[in-house]
């Protein structure tokens, strides 16, 4: 079974649904471990810092985005760890997943609206194309 499942989390509802699917899969096997990956978008650090006011508040804001997923994993009694990366979300997830040779990547789709997707491209689509392992995109 999938022993190392990576689930990408960004605080959106889609990411939470992705985490729920990851839990279902992890539950199938005793040895499965879920790794929550949150990528800090380095290009948005300026806006994040302006909004938060101080580095501590900024970390608290990130923690708030991850907490619901951690809570769900704890409730489901699935073993997990949390990793915070810095970079451009899509490529960074791909790089990390390939480097760690994870067994499955679970990612939510449509975190962006249609216009954003047109301009920026879909993150989940790029990740799905480039990871060297099975990927599950959750609607």
């Amino acid at each position: 079974m999938y022993s190392h499942i990576l689930v990408a989390v960004d605080g959106s509802d889609n990411a939470f649904r992705a985490a729920q699917e990851a839990i279902k899969i992890a539950k199938l096997s005793q040895t499965s471990m879920v790794e929550i990956v949150y990528v800090v978008n380095v290009e948005k650090v300026k806006n994040e810092l302006l909004r938060a006011g101080s580095p501590e508040t900024m970390e608290l804001a990130r923690q708030r985005k991850i907490a619901p997923v951690e809570q769900a994993l704890t409730a489901a009694q699935v073993s997990f760890q949390t990793t915070i990366l810095k970079g451009t979300p899509g490529p960074e997830i791909v790089r990390y997943a390939n480097e760690k040779q994870v067994d499955l990547v679970v990612i939510g789709s449509r975190g962006l609206n249609r216009f954003q997707e047109m301009v920026l491209g879909s993150v989940s689509h790029k990740v799905m194309k480039r990871v060297q392992c099975p990927a599950l995109v959750v609607k």
Partner: protein, 475 residues
């Protein structure tokens, strides 16, 4: 923090490559910011070379890029217009001295007193001013100007999606300068704004009379420049810290900014500071160490020598387009939601900061008033004391200090009972006013033969009470 050796040579390949990218990206901005300031483009280019090169050695935040900036250019515009370049150079040196002094005094701690509402107001006002500075360059300039601005914007936003090796603004400059040159389209160029002298930077004293009058002219500008420069530099340092997950010495950075501006002024450059945009480009391109900043400065000098003659032929609409891009990138677009969702006082402070800057054309005044305003709002918020009455017990909730003692005292003006208890366990006595108010209430009530019990003072408040009242509570 890393060792000095790591800061210089920990990432040689990445630093050299990113430094080159930054040098290329600096050219359009240094030229455009010079035009905002009203000086020869060479003044901005030299400043960028000087500051980047010096700050590589004396700065506190490796991989941060400092050069001629829009924020500083906007502050100096009226000085240049009224008194000329020589006064700007003198002001730059004085700015450096002030920043050095602030750094020695530990200014970084004071940054904590600038709330985020003011910082958001600062970047938004900066974006608006940069945009407004472009308006005279395109209004009523004809169809070709608008077309070239549009093409520039198209290039800077679309090209990076497919090709990232060379900064898109530079691509826009090169392509559109060639197009203008070969087709002979009649567009205003940088050369049309005034003669450009090109010489290697050299050391000289600003040609100003050394007297009190000169100091009085430049001091307000230098003060504003040093505040704006340090504010943007320390914000940028925080951003780079966060991007690279490393720490930096903010007071050393403040001193470094000072040293860089002093030397920069003697070499004929305009005052500068750290740049958020360029520093982000540097880190994203792989820059992590001091070497990246040094390479950016040195390679920029090389480009100035090689390309210097071509600067005059750059069409103005291209620079206008690039500045519009910079202004869009500087503006905090989340602000519109912030105005709706943030606490009312914060939203108000943010908007007032923007309005003051746009009205006075001075970023420093907006920041100072914004900080004062939010401090007052803070005092108003924490000075709310609620008093609950349960029988003859009065429970005080909220801190007691100079701004909050009035409502506290009013509560005890008309007491009918023969004995009351004041419960201070949810409160704290902060200053003389608080102790004074408590003593006064007790004395007044006792004069009316009402017995007063004070309970729940926390140890710090008790100590202050004992010290200031000269007695111990034993009622």
């Amino acid at each position: 923090m890393q060792t000095l050796k790591e800061q210089w040579f920990g990432n040689v390949r990445g630093d050299i490559l990113s430094g080159i990218v930054v040098a290329l990206a600096l050219i359009p901005e240094a030229i455009a910011f010079s035009i905002i300031a009203g000086v020869d483009p060479m003044v901005g280019l030299y400043a960028s070379f000087c500051i980047a090169t010096i700050i590589a050695f004396v700065g506190g935040r490796p991989a941060m890029i400092s050069a001629a900036t829009g924020a500083m250019a906007l502050v100096m515009t009226s000085l240049v217009k009224e008194h000329g370049l020589q006064y700007l150079l003198a002001a730059t040196i004085l700015t450096g001295l002030l920043q050095l002094l602030f750094g020695v005094l530990g200014i970084a701690k004071l940054m904590r007193f600038v709330p985020n509402a003011v910082m958001i107001g600062f970047v938004n006002a900066l974006a608006i001013l940069i945009f407004m500075a472009q308006v005279p360059h395109f209004l009523k300039e004809g169809l070709w100007t608008y077309l070239f601005i549009a093409i520039t914007l198209l290039i800077v936003y679309v090209v990076p999606r497919f090709f990232k090796a060379i900064p898109a603004p530079l691509i826009a400059i090169v392509i559109l300068t060639i197009v203008t040159f070969t087709t002979g389209i009649d567009l205003k160029t940088i050369g049309d704004l005034g003669a450009i002298e090109r010489a290697l930077p050299s050391f000289f004293l600003p040609n100003v009379p050394f007297n009190l009058e000169t100091v009085m002219i430049i001091l307000p500008y230098s003060l504003a420049l040093s505040i704006v420069g340090l504010l943007e530099s320390l914000l940028t340092a925080q951003i780079v810290d966060e991007m690279t997950s490393t720490k930096s010495d903010k007071n050393r950075e403040a001193r470094g900014q000072g040293i860089a501006n002093i030397i920069n002024g003697f070499f004929g450059g305009m005052a500068g500071c750290a740049m958020i945009g360029q520093s982000v480009i540097n880190v994203k391109s792989g820059g992590r160490g001091r070497l990246s900043t040094l390479v950016a400065g040195v390679f920029l000098m090389f480009l100035i020598i090689v390309l210097g003659d071509l600067v005059v032929d750059i069409p103005m609409p291209v620079l206008v387009g690039i500045m519009i891009m910079v202004s869009i990138g500087t503006f905090d677009w989340g602000s519109f939601r912030y105005i709706v969702t943030a606490p009312r006082a914060d939203a108000f402070v943010m908007i007032v900061t923007v309005l003051i800057v746009v009205y006075t054309d001075n970023l420093a005044i907006g920041v100072v008033i914004g900080v004062i305003l939010s401090a007052l709002f803070f005092v108003a918020t924490v000075s709310k004391v609620t008093i609950q009455q349960r029988g003859t017990t009065y429970i005080i909730e909220g801190p007691l200090f100079f701004a909050s003692t009035k409502s506290f005292m009013q509560t005890f003006e008309q007491i009918e009972a023969s004995s009351i208890t004041i419960d201070l366990s949810s409160s704290h006595l902060w200053d003389e006013s608080a102790v004074g108010a408590l003593v006064k209430v007790i004395h007044r009530l006792e004069a009316q033969h009402i017995q007063v019990n004070v309970i729940g003072l926390n140890p710090a408040s008790q100590a202050l009470y004992n010290q200031l009242s000269g007695l111990t509570i034993n009622h």
